[in-house]
Amino acid sequence: MKILSVENLSRSFGGIKANDNISFTVDEGSILGIIGPNGAGKSTLFDLITGYTKADSGKVHFFEKNIFGLSPDKISNLGVGRTFQKLKPFADQTLLENVMIGAFVKEQNIKKARDKALEIIDFVDLIEKRHHFAKELSTGQRKRLEMARAMAIEPKLLLMDEVTGGVDQKTIPSLVELIKKLKKTGVTIITIEHNINIIMEISDNVLALDQGKSIAFGSPKEIQKNKVVIDSYLGTFDAA
């Protein structure tokens, strides 16, 4: 079943087309990887899907529901979670409070929200840091915080923007494992990644963008062999 259908989504900033007639679908329970050079429009695409930025035209359906033009909070309440490339933790609040704020979307009772938040914090392996302020956490830990916070809203679809970006090499494998673990819970994931090896390892499908346009969509193997993708992004990537 298709969890997300995007049709001819476009957005311009002045004369620059950040997203130009982007179309793709995502199967429930799968991982879609999005690749593309800097400025390809990957994060803008997330902004348009989540209502963070209003699209100029196009259609976005979450399951059967048209979510085009809805506000971010309404889209979130339907079950679309998101993390940011430029991290946005609530810095003056503890890790536990950060996740509880997300948990309140589905659970109004404070004790239950707290229990749920602790469970998720344990899931992302940060339980010992639960009382630390978000501003005290390392970049890798803040990435996990954002994942935990997004998970707390019980998303059916989770959009993750460069989870492994800006973290040290040692931390990356554990974050990749976390994404795989998350997929096993049944959450559908769309992830933007610059690390092509990670994308090829975890994705069921890959969407390649360049200069705001969709240049390829298919399985990781198909993308690796796609000449347009190789020319514009992968370069000398070993397609074998």
Binding site: P72, G81, Q93
Partner: protein, 288 residues
């Protein structure tokens, strides 16, 4: 000068400081949430005092009993202010925001003068009157109760903001409204709640002060100035900072007036403000 007089000034300063703190907390909450300075805060205080006055004058309700009504009226006023003015200027430039709330202050004061004239009024024979004598200390009963009610309201506000679901959502919106929206928190609703709570605080302070203060259309101006100083001193957006700052201002006003010269007591407060702006612009607990 005896130690009794100094102690008297300290007690008076503390009581006034708690009232300043609650007024400033309302201002700080609104600023912390949407980074808009409510220059009509003093006029909102004036409205809350008139609310108490008219409830007493027209319906015979003593201010101590009309406090819940005044709080609700002011909270409603906050919601109206948000939906009819503030939400249209949220993304506007700071100068426009300043003009909007400053314009609102002139509008409210002018309407009040038109409706109620600039005459001074007071609640005659309120339930809270007289004074307590503790040793050599004289404490006005209305002032004491007003400051204690303000302290309780302040504690309630602090617990609400730090311990409840809505409070955490308010804090989240204050820190990053876009990140909060992605978590399903409607920022527009949070802003309206912020205004309701902010003016509700003013409702408590104004309602209690109606017991012993003259009520007139310009009454809020000095209180608003002190609230701005308290917010700057405590740190923009910091509620707990307002408590410390309110008390400091109350004490400086009271002790400065006693120890140096009463005619300059406003000056001492504003000297503090200038020192804060120069040496610690983020205030005692501020994050801006």
């Amino acid at each position: 000068m005896t130690s009794e007089i100094i102690l008297q000034a300290i007690v008076t300063g503390l009581m006034m400081g708690l009232i300043y703190a609650l007024i400033a907390a309302g201002l700080s909450l609104i600023f912390g949430l949407m980074e808009i300075v409510n220059f009509a805060h003093g006029e909102h205080l004036m409205l809350s005092m008139f609310s108490s006055f008219w409830l007493w004058s027209l319906f015979g309700l003593d201010p101590i009993f009309s406090i819940p009504i005044t709080i609700l009226l002011m909270a409603f006023c906050g919601i109206i202010t948000h939906y009819f003015l503030i939400r249209y200027i949220l993304k506007a430039k700071m100068l426009i925001q300043i003009c909007a709330t400053f314009g609102l202050s002139i509008f409210i004061r002018s309407i009040a003068q038109l409706l109620w004239t600039p005459d001074f009024r007071n609640v005659d024979k309120p339930l809270l009157e007289g004074r307590l004598e503790i040793g050599s200390l004289f404490i006005g009963q209305p002032q004491l109760i007003a400051s204690l009610v303000c302290l309780m309201a302040f504690i309630g506000l602090y617990l609400f903001v730090t311990k409840t679901e809505t409070g955490l959502a308010l804090q989240a919106t204050a820190q990053d409204r876009h990140a909060a929206e992605i978590l399903g928190i409607p920022s527009n609703k949070m802003f309206a709640i912020g205004w309701a709570i902010g003016l509700g605080c003013v409702g408590v302070a104004g309602g209690m002060m109606a017991n012993y203060f003259f009520i007139f259309t310009d009454v809020g101006i000095n209180f608003a100035l002190f609230a701005f100083v308290a917010v700057a001193l405590g740190g923009f957006g910091s509620i707990i900072g307002c408590l410390y700052a309110g008390i400091i201002i109350g004490l400086v006003e009271s002790l400065g007036g006693l120890l140096i010269d009463p005619s300059f007591k406003l000056l001492y407060v504003f000297v503090i403000y200038l020192l804060v702006v120069i040496y610690k612009p983020q205030g005692l607990f501020g994050r801006y």
